[in-house]
């Protein structure tokens, strides 16, 4: 049987890898954003696990900062996505090629 630390770290690594897979495979920008949130949450879990392992508040503080920045990032990112895709039909990131050289 594995200990609790290994359990949480495994969970964190799996969440990060699943989020990366969603980022690479999906072409809906909103689902890609959700994958980023998954990755951030995986990292948060690792931070908290290590904070508890060494009884140190640094991990908690960093998780709090990640939470705040993730909220700001979601707001700005979703505003940009809406501005790009609102006048179009559907949401496909491969159709965005205005900046192609």
């Amino acid at each position: 049987m594995i200990g609790a630390t290994e359990f949480y770290l495994t969970l964190s690594a799996l969440l990060f890898a699943i989020g990366a897979a969603g980022m690479l495979l999906r072409r809906n920008p909103l689902v890609m954003f959700m994958s980023i949130e998954l990755m951030l949450n995986g990292v948060n879990l690792a931070f908290l696990t290590f904070a508890r392992l060494w009884d140190n508040p640094d991990g908690d503080i960093f998780t709090f900062l990640v939470l705040t920045v993730a909220a700001a990032e979601a707001v700005v990112g979703l505003a940009i996505i809406i501005a790009i895709f609102r006048p179009r039909q559907g949401v496909d990131v491969d159709e965005i090629d205005e900046m192609k050289g």
């Binding site: 495979l25 006048p87 496909d92």
Partner: protein, 181 residues
């Protein structure tokens, strides 16, 4: 033994809902899976003795951000997503290979190189996760990063307002992006 079973059930729920976010084709169902995932993670935070962060997780993520996501999805693609099948199959295969390799590498690193594993987490008697310990650390040792955070939020707020008003102005004047012309 029951405790270990409950822990594994929690892990299965978290990993399964994360897979659901990535795999399910409909974005609305992805958001619903994301809610399950975030709530499961909040339970993990509670088990890790981080009471304040679990509450913040539920309020900020499962509350505010999820509402924002649902709003965006219903605004952008009310009649389907219109995403055609990917013409480049190899990109998909390469993506799968890369993400599986990333997960294997992370697990290898965790179990291969980090010392101090195997010891039980100090769940009782620890002060670092309680609201009091968190508040003391945040407002004494980490006061400056906390203030920087408020500045980041302010910049995001102002930027979003300016960006949104400019876009609305463009649409009102008939200057639509290329897709509509």
């Amino acid at each position: 033994m029951i405790e270990a079973g409950a822990l594994f059930l929690l892990g299965a729920v978290v990993v399964g809902s994360a897979l659901g976010v990535v795999i399910v084709p409909n974005a609305v169902y992805s958001v619903l899976f994301l809610i399950v995932n975030l709530l499961g993670l909040a339970v993990c935070f509670l088990l890790l003795n981080a009471v304040f962060l679990a509450a913040a997780q539920v309020l900020i993520y499962a509350g505010a951000i999820i509402v924002l996501f649902l709003f965006s999805i219903t605004l952008l693609s009310p009649g389907g997503e219109h995403i055609s099948a990917d013409p480049r199959r190899w990109q998909r295969n390469v993506g799968i290979v890369i993400s599986v390799a990333l997960g294997a590498l992370l697990l290898f690193l965790i179990f291969g190189s980090i010392t101090g594993l195997g010891t039980p987490l100090p769940n009782s008697g620890a002060t670092s996760g309680t609201v009091e310990g968190f508040g003391r650390a945040l407002f004494q040792q980490f006061l400056f990063p906390f203030e920087i955070t408020s500045f980041v939020l302010l910049v995001a707020l102002i930027g979003t307002v300016i960006y949104g008003s400019n876009t609305l102005e463009d649409i009102r004047r008939g200057r639509l992006p290329r897709g509509e012309r």
